[in-house]
């Protein structure tokens, strides 16, 4: 009798409530080896095909283990705070300087400060998605956070900062030449409209192409805007409509966020 057979018999004998003769036990176990069923009738590939689509969404337990909340809103807020660190100091500084220089320029040529919004928003959103298509991006999307939460969290950081910049610009102009606080609404409505358009364009066509499309539209209109005193979007839409349209574009971008990865690959 081979040592492995005796070892196996020993191991099973230890698990029995009443001992049994080792040779008897080994002989029975040898006989049990004769009962080996054939392979399953369904090949593994066919079974896997049947199971596809039955896998669940990330579990609440896993969210807890990773220190995240299962509530989409709470997760997005937590994730948004984490995203702030992705924006390097150069971005915070560059957007502030660009806003201040832009304010001086628009005041000098007599144009509206709202003119600054489209390039600031488009560049910032493109910057926030700068690692799309890289291995780091793959890692981010494999975390228990949905693609829409990635897009939403980064967009919220950009929009939050743009709002702060708008408030700073409004305050400066208010103290210099009595700029009406209501004009801040022009800034915000324009910001929402162009952010929505940029984000939708990025999700559908990839971050670089999406930003380029928005900027191309802005440049085409910008020539006329230089000599205008009205906010850029007001040529076409009133503030409320612009804000609503921007919000709709943002919602559309979030709904289409799962296809963002595909757009990135197409663009790459």
């Amino acid at each position: 009798m081979r040592p492995t057979e005796l070892e196996r018999a020993d191991a099973i004998a230890r698990d029995m409530a009443e001992p049994m003769d080792a040779a008897d036990l080994a002989a029975i176990l040898n006989r049990l080896d004769d009962f080996s069923p054939a392979a399953p009738l369904t090949p593994p590939g066919a079974l896997i095909e049947r199971l596809r689509g039955r896998l669940p969404a990330p579990s609440r337990q896993r969210f807890r283990e990773d220190g995240l909340s299962a509530s989409p809103l709470a997760t997005t807020l937590q994730f948004m705070l984490a995203q702030v660190w992705l924006f390097r100091p150069v971005w915070w500084g560059a957007t502030t300087v660009a806003t201040l220089i832009g304010l001086a320029l628009t005041k000098w040529v007599g144009a509206t400060p709202g003119l600054l919004v489209p390039p600031l928003v488009a560049f910032s959103l493109a910057y926030s998605m700068r690692e799309a298509g890289t291995p780091a991006w793959e890692v981010e999307l494999s975390c228990p956070v949905r693609p829409y939460q990635v897009v939403l969290a980064r967009a919220l950081v950009v929009l939050g900062w743009m709002t702060v910049l708008g408030a700073i610009a409004g305050s400066i102009l208010h103290f210099i030449d009595g700029w009406q606080i209501a004009t801040l609404g022009d800034w915000l409505a324009g910001m929402l409209l162009f952010a929505g358009a940029s984000l939708l364009g990025m999700v559908c066509t990839g971050p670089r192409l999406g930003a380029a499309l928005v900027l191309a539209g802005w440049v085409a209109l910008g020539i006329r805007a230089i000599s205008s005193t009205a906010p850029l979007h007001l040529w076409v839409l009133p503030n409320t409509t612009a804000a609503l349209l921007g919000a709709a574009c943002l919602a559309g971008a979030l709904l289409m966020a799962p296809r963002f990865g595909k757009s990135v690959h197409q663009e790459g």
């Binding site: 049990l32 080996s36 039955r54």
Partner: protein, 181 residues
Amino acid sequence: MIRDEELCRQMQEGNEAALEALVHRHQQAVFAYLYRMTGDAHTADDLTQESFIRLCTRIHSYRYPEPFRPWLYTISANLQKDWRKNAYHRHVLPQEPPDGPSPVDLLDRFASRAEVVDALNQLDDGHRSVLYLRFYHDLTVEQIARVEGIPAGTVKSRLSTALRRLRQYLTAERGVQNATD
């Protein structure tokens, strides 16, 4: 190699590659367990598929790092029990021990495998399941206790009883065989 428990955790995130790995690793063993318990390849195959479907739909209830195999066998064992209960109500109980050896049975018993299968069929489900999980699937007494939902002491007692009865049946079979020779 990634552990089953880690794959299970990845499945909770909807990772299809983890599911594929688990199917490749365990489909054969689950089928073997169910085939031995039901005695019918088609039934065992259906129950194996159902086991993996339940694995997917109930993956949220898996608690990492709980051992994966006992958890999977609990699903299969429960499915097998349900199937047996339904078969009983339909009056199509499979694997009923024969009243006495027929001439055909006697011929079959010349084959060693048939002898073993016959002897195993003399055991009731509870004893067979414990024996299969310990011997063929190498689960520990504690893991079997979890699968079967019984105390560890009962597992040990069932294992002893199963092996003693098996020895008796096989000895008796050999006696019948020698008499017919």
